[in-house]
């Protein structure tokens, strides 16, 4: 990827929560892992949204400060979007939106629409060869112009399975004509959901080496219309089994209960600290090397994580890891050392008395 971007800092845990408003979308992109599309109508009820927003707002004295509205396409149901945004802003959240920009038919209309909504603090606009089968690039340009004119920070989210692919390069060269390279974020297509149906056509680069990066997506849980709460909005939402990133269900537990449990989840925070590679190494040491993946999609932490958690033996091992006092301690202090987070130490049963004295962090460069 282009080296203009600086290395990212770790997002703080639980400061941002996603609300998956709807599975409806104007597009039926081939790569969509949630299979959103024009034929889907499941959406979050306004009553649920308001209740959950209230609970999130009162969690730990407004610990969460951003609600990110996503889908599907949140602009599909503008009334729901507006009502949820009003509830969010009333509860003093910043609101960020994820959209395909279908609504930006002209610059003027795009700007009018953005100005008509409660305060938008950030907007993520998705475009790539998949989206462009349904949403013309001109709409993306209009949405960028409108966001800029309204003073709303944005980035453009592009997915590809291969950054050397001609269509990806063409798109990014068009994008840099209208926006700074730093505002373009690239992700790897994941062969799940609708993308699983075309996986044979996807041109990934495979490797036998697990990705070495930590997972940053698991810093921000996402709530779905059926009240499931996931630790990320990645491919793991496709797994229905119990695993560390399925945090709970709001029909059975409160936001507080689920978020408190998430603060002490060893598996989740191990992924945030060291990524799946650490877990893979530990599995091998535990004699479970047969259950680790043999090949990985290059550059995809999500792929490695998904493969791991698809294995029932690995899931059982991860559940047991929660009771491994030594590793739990290491994760708790790792959060303090690397991420400046004391949540696991505060919520877990760790004794402490003195002032934290911490050596400087290892350089992230």
């Amino acid at each position: 990827m282009d080296t203009v971007q600086k290395p990212s800092g770790d997002p703080p845990f639980l400061r941002n929560v996603g609300l998956f408003l709807t599975y409806h979308c104007q597009a039926a992109c081939a790569h969509c892992i949630v299979r959103a599309g024009p034929d889907r109508h499941e959406e979050m009820s306004l009553n649920d949204a308001r209740d959950w927003i209230r609970q999130i707002a009162s969690y730990r004295n407004h610990y969460v400060y951003v609600l990110s509205l996503t889908g599907g396409e949140p602009f599909s149901n503008r009334k729901l979007l507006r009502d949820v945004m009003e509830a969010a802003v009333e509860s003093k959240f910043f609101v960020s939106l994820v959209t395909n920009a279908f609504w930006a038919t002209t610059r003027h209309k795009a700007k009018q629409l953005l100005e008509s909504l409660p305060t938008i603090s950030f907007i993520s606009i998705s475009t790539d060869s998949y989206h462009q089968e349904y949403v013309p690039f001109d709409r993306v340009k209009n949405a960028i112009w409108a966001a800029r004119d309204c003073g709303i920070p944005y980035y453009i989210s592009v997915v590809t399975e291969d950054e050397s692919a001609p269509e990806y390069k063409r798109l990014t060269s068009e994008l840099v004509q209208i926006t700074a390279p730093g505002s373009i974020r690239t992700g790897i297509t994941f062969p799940l959901g609708r993308a699983a149906e075309v996986s044979a056509q996807l041109r990934y680069r495979n490797t036998d080496q697990a990705p070495k990066e930590a997972c940053q997506a698991a810093s921000s849980p996402c709530i779905f219309p059926d009240a499931r709460v996931y630790g990320c909005i990645g491919p793991l939402i496709d797994l229905r089994h119990d695993h560390p990133l399925l945090l709970g269900n709001l029909r059975e537990s409160s936001v507080s209960e689920i978020f408190d449990r998430a603060e002490t989840s060893v598996g989740l925070h191990a992924l945030r600290l060291w990524g799946p590679r650490r877990l893979i190494s530990m599995l091998r040491e535990a004699g479970l090397g047969d259950h680790v993946p043999k090949t990985y999609i290059e550059g995809s932490v999500c792929n490695a994580c998904y493969q791991l958690l698809s294995d029932s033996v690995v899931r059982t091992w991860l559940r047991d890891l929660q009771n491994d006092a030594d590793f739990r301690q290491k994760v708790a202090y790792g959060r303090l050392y690397y991420l400046n987070e004391t949540g696991m130490l505060e919520f877990g049963r760790f004794s402490s008395a003195d002032i934290a004295s911490r050596s400087p962090c290892l350089s992230r460069d």
């Binding site: 941002n16 989210s157 209960e257 303090l336």
Partner: protein, 80 residues
């Protein structure tokens, strides 16, 4: 609801040494899921927009961060 008690923690020396000897890798780019981090761009945008509601929200959030002992640090990047 469990209420965390603000505490100060000491990292055990053996754990600290293990962290000092390992290398941690973070992605070059953040995960592109629309999640926003309270960063410089966002702060500038809110202040420039002149929207009292947005400014009040920002102030409330910064106050909440201040209560949980966060600090506002603006650093000049060193260019070599």
């Amino acid at each position: 609801m469990a209420t965390p008690i603000a505490k100060q923690f000491t990292i055990p020396i053996d754990v600290l040494k293990s962290f000092q000897h390992e290398v941690r890798f973070v992605p070059q780019l953040p995960h592109n899921n629309g999640y926003m981090i309270l960063d410089m761009d966002m702060l500038i945008s809110v202040l420039r927009r002149g929207d009292p509601k947005a400014a009040a929200t920002l102030a409330d959030n910064m106050e909440a961060l201040k209560k949980s002992q966060a600090e506002l640090v603006i650093m000049q990047k060193v260019v070599e």
